[in-house]
């Protein structure tokens, strides 16, 4: 109980760092100098101290959305194993986590519509379109892991996988991992699905939705998005490649866990940055192809689990 709270706080605290890391490495790959890895912290702190501007047209939905989003990611963070394999898995399993992210997306998209600007609507519309395929992909790829490890509890998956050595490794795992990786990019507004640093409204998805938020509200929105990104990375690390996770609360276990997690996150951060630097954003109506590929991969993962 306490461990998972601490871990959730840790995730929350480290998420800007992870975002900073990706931005920094992306800059490196692109031959730019880039800002410090701590820049996201500064941005958030600045935003927290600013007044919020709300649209005349917006309703109470706009106001509650940042809090709902933040709540949803924190609740999800409580159910995801981080350094150790303990989390509040008995409260909610992987489906609950995925649907908590769904809640966040739902409210974000509502807020996008609420201000009555055409950009917000466009962002919401595109976000929901993308998620229509991405969400099932995520579910199916984690289900594959649930089947492999015999539980739908995320901690349980990590534990069972980590403690059984390489016994449980199957081709399905890699198919699921590939599908999940593409979905992670799509869900977290990364290239090639979305461009997080775009300035052109017509190409935006995620940014268009939060366009009308400002000040403290924007800070919460940004922070919850960062946390979501980190959580996806953590899930990827702990569900698909959980080796090294701390299965007990001894000092050695924890140390191994921290080191393993840091390495894995670094790796994912670099991978994301690499993808973002080497690929161009896809046109919106080319996206279905990519997403369908990832969905098929995840479906194939489950099927191959049964066949192979």
């Amino acid at each position: 109980m306490l461990t998972s709270m601490v871990q959730a706080l840790l995730v929350l605290a480290l998420s800007p760092l992870f975002t900073g890391l990706i931005r920094r490495s992306k800059a490196y790959f692109q031959g730019r100098q880039g800002a410090s890895v701590l820049q996201p912290y500064r941005d958030l702190a600045k935003l927290f101290r600013k007044d919020s501007v709300l649209s005349h047209d917006a309703s109470w939905i706009m106001t509650i959305t940042p809090y709902v989003c933040m709540t949803a990611v924190i609740a999800a963070a409580l159910m995801v194993p981080f350094i150790t394999d303990s989390s509040l898995g008995f409260v909610g399993d992987l489906i609950v986590v995925v649907y908590l992210f769904g809640t966040m997306r739902f409210f974000m998209a509502l807020a996008g519509l609420d201000a009555g600007s055409s950009f917000g609507g466009m962002g919401s519309s595109r976000e929901m379109t993308v998620s229509a395929i991405v969400e099932p992909t995520i579910l199916l790829s984690i289900f594959t892991m649930a089947l492999i490890s015999g539980t739908t509890d995320l901690s349980g998956i990590s534990r069972n996988l980590a403690t059984s050595g390489l016994d449980l490794v199957r081709p399905a795992l890699f198919l699921a991992l590939a599908a999940f990786f593409i979905s992670t990019l799509a869900e977290n507004a990364r290239v090639p699905v979305d461009n997080p640093s775009t300035h052109l409204e017509l190409t935006m998805i995620h940014e268009a939705m939060v366009l009308e938020h400002s000040g403290k509200h924007l800070a919460l929105m940004e922070w919850s998005s960062m946390t979501k990104l980190l959580l996806y990375a953590v899930i990827m690390a702990n569900v698909f490649l959980p080796w090294g996770i701390a299965t007990d609360l001894t000092a050695i276990g924890l140390a191994t866990g921290i080191v393993a997690m840091s390495l894995k996150l670094l790796l994912f951060g670099l991978a994301i940055a690499l993808v973002e630097s080497s690929m161009a954003k896809l046109r919106l109506f080319r996206l279905p192809n990519l997403l369908t590929v990832s969905f098929s991969l995840s479906l194939l993962a489950v099927i191959s689990y049964y066949i192979l």
């Binding site: 709300l54 109470w60 924190i74 769904g102 609420d114 969400e135 739908t152 009308e212 049964y306």
Partner: protein, 673 residues
């Protein structure tokens, strides 16, 4: 004994109320009050009966006179009681809502008759789930259809209403014919019209015959439940009906079909073949997916909700199909789990769909339109309706820990357990169904996001929407009740599930209540596969929410909230600069254009410069695929044949005599040969 009397009262009361309301038709206000007081009282009675049956286990009761088809008996077990309870709860809330809603018909339509039919409709649903005699069942089934038909065409002077109602009536009649044939096939083999004699007879029937009965019932009840491609009447009838009626039809009437499918496949026929389950599963998948896809692109709120009903019926059938597959492999616990998931979805869908239809009714009442493209900004003008509609939409989108989420979660869990099935092909099929269900869930969220976002948020798109006012208190009360239940049924689902187990245990052959609920946790499986605790999720969400609010207020100090115009590149902010509903769903419309087959036209008036267009016109309509390729040709074919046959009535007496001559000669020759 006490239950018997309550049940008698439950039969008599609505009829008395109906007669009274119809007689007082002239005094609109009084008749509305009487009708809906009676219906709310009788729904409370229904709830009491259901509750008592859950305590006692079952109840049998007979009408005091006999018929050529044996005694007209009623039998309620826990399954029937569960549906009786669901019907009653929804009817109660809708009755409360109707006090306010029905008043606006005063002076325009005979409200007393609305109230009378409403009561008969309720009563017929009660009797459908409780009839034990096949013929009595058929009678009540058609009474239910007829009374709902009259309710659908209540606003008969509206363009298209009568046509929609007729289509509904015909579809449901086709269903009744199939059901009747199935029942009679069973009767022929059992020698008794009592449903309780059917399971025994089913044992002695040949495979082909039993499958024929199964398919007949699947078509018959499927027509009522709205399975694709028999769903076409739903988006026609539900929008045409008064909203309180659509709430009842969508939330509980289609459930009576699910009830009968469960009853037939698990009770009357006994699960026999795996392919039955697979068939139900496949139909469920297609219905769920197509239902939600059409819901997504619809811009009429009530039509959208109707398509969403198709989707949810599909989801229930997926769960039922999985239960049947498990049952066919003798996996009783898992069959029980899937069945519980199905029942939970029945319950949660009843709750949120009635809430949403009532919400749609409130919107309709306040703005006189159900076209999303003319709405908007209602969350500020009708805050309570908006909030409650949002709760319904969240539940429909399976947002934890609302009831819709719990049921979907249970269905996922049941499907994940398919690894226990020995046949790999079946496992893969269930996996595909699981993927379908996941896509359905995501699309449903998009659809409900759209309906809430476009209707309630941003700026109003018409004057009607701009001038909308909050609806009367009784309507809010009805909706509030359902909204509260949507939340409670989710959070307190650990208390509901043992009750559902009482329903499923006799059908599936195994009780899993002990393992399913562990304190406030739900452990939907054998072993340690997965678990969740809805109340804890609720607690965590509330706690974290409080924490986030407090901390974010604390950090950086209290900041002002400034009101300003939305930024829109400097263009004037009008209703036309908002994103429209059609625009919202356009990416998906394009992505799945092979399903929707949209017809798009683009026309621009020519002007001297190619860069300056004085007028541009873009239209996009979706083809009604099933109407165009299935129902249209069928009707045309029947009409064509009728036209051909009707040539024989030439009007010439010589021809007529010729017919007799020919028939005589033919028969004489045939006799000789």
């Amino acid at each position: 004994m006490f239950v018997d009397q309550l049940f008698l009262a439950l039969i008599v009361l609505p009829f008395a109320g109906a007669i009274l309301a119809a007689t007082l038709n002239g005094h609109a206000k009084t008749s509305v009050r009487i009708a809906f007081t009676v219906s709310s009282l009788s729904s409370l009675l229904g709830l009491a009966v259901a509750f008592l049956i859950f305590l006692d286990g079952e109840m049998r009761w007979e009408l005091p006179f006999s018929s050529p088809f044996g005694p007209l008996s009623f039998y309620l077990d826990t399954l029937a009681a569960f549906f009786l309870g669901t019907i009653s709860v929804v009817t109660f809330a809708v009755s409360v809502y109707s006090f306010g809603y029905a008043n606006h018909y005063e002076g325009k339509y005979p409200v007393g008759l609305l109230g009378a039919m409403f009561n008969i409709f309720f009563s017929s649903m009660v009797m459908v789930v409780s009839s034990s005699n096949a013929i009595l069942f058929l009678i009540m089934w058609e009474t239910m259809s007829l009374s709902s038909f009259f309710l659908v065409i209540f606003e008969h002077r509206q363009e298209g209403t009568v046509g929609s109602g007729l289509f509904y009536l015909i579809m449901t009649h086709i269903g009744t014919a199939a059901i009747g044939m199935g029942l009679l096939l069973m009767y022929v083999n059992s020698g008794s019209f009592d449903l309780s004699s059917f399971p025994g007879a089913a044992q002695g029937m040949s495979d082909v015959l039993r499958s024929a009965v199964f398919l007949l019932w699947l078509v018959g009840f499927g027509a009522k439940a709205g399975i694709v491609p028999l769903h076409v009447w739903l988006p026609m009838a539900h929008p045409a009906a008064p909203s309180n009626v659509s709430a009842l039809m969508s939330a509980v009437m289609v459930k009576t079909a699910i009830y009968m499918l469960i009853r037939c496949c698990f009770g009357l026929l006994g699960v026999q073949d795996t392919w039955w389950g697979i068939t139900v599963l496949a139909i469920g998948c297609v219905s769920a997916l197509l239902g939600v896809m059409y819901a997504l692109i619809e811009s009429d709120i009530k039509r959208m909700l109707a398509f969403s009903t198709v989707e949810n019926v599909g989801i229930m059938l997926i769960a039922l199909g999985v239960a049947m597959v498990f049952g066919s492999y003798g996996l009783k616990e898992l069959a029980g789990l899937a069945l519980i998931a199905c029942l939970m979805h029945v319950l949660s869908h009843a709750l949120f769909k009635s809430l949403l239809f009532m919400g749609a009714g409130s919107v309709l009442l306040a703005t006189h339109t159900k076209d999303m493209e003319r709405l908007g900004g209602l969350a500020k003008r009708m805050p309570y309706t908006g909030a409650m509609f949002l709760i319904g939409a969240l539940s429909a989108s399976a947002i934890p820990p609302l009831s819709g989420f719990i049921s979907e979660w249970l269905i996922f869990q049941a499907m994940l357990q398919s690894f226990s099935i020995p046949d790999a092909m079946v496992k893969i099929l269930i996996t595909v169904a699981l993927g379908t269900l996941a896509i359905t869930g995501a699309l449903a969220a998009a659809a409900f996001l759209k309906v809430f976002g476009i209707t309630f948020l941003a700026r109003p798109r018409s004057r009607d929407a701009d001038e909308a006012r909050e609806v009367p208190k009784s309507m809010l009360l009805g909706m509030g009740l359902m909204a509260a239940l949507c939340v409670l049924a989710g959070v307190l689902s650990f208390a509901i599930l043992p009750g559902l187990d009482q329903v499923s245990a006799p059908l599936a052959g195994a009780s899993i209540a002990d393992s399913l609920v562990n304190g406030i946790e739900i452990v939907p499986t054998v072993g340690e596969f997965s678990q969740a605790s809805p109340p804890l999720i609720a607690v965590i969400i509330l706690a974290v929410m409080g924490l986030v609010l407090t901390l974010s207020q604390a950090y950086g100090g209290r900041r002002k909230v400034v009101r300003a115009d939305t930024w829109d590149c400097g263009t004037p902010l009008t209703a036309r600069t908002e994103y429209s509903g059609r625009g919202f769903s356009n990416p998906i419309n394009r992505m799945f254009s092979w399903v929707y087959r949209p017809i798009r036209t683009f026309r621009a008036t020519r002007s001297p410069s190619p860069y300056i267009r004085t007028e541009m016109r873009y239209t996009s309509t979706t083809q009604p695929v099933f109407e165009k390729y299935l129902y249209g040709p069928t009707e045309a074919g029947v009409r064509w044949a009728a036209k051909k046959i009707s040539v024989i009535q030439t009007g010439s007496i010589q021809t007529y005599l010729g017919y007799i001559f020919v028939v005589l000669v033919l028969l004489l020759v045939a006799l000789r040969l």
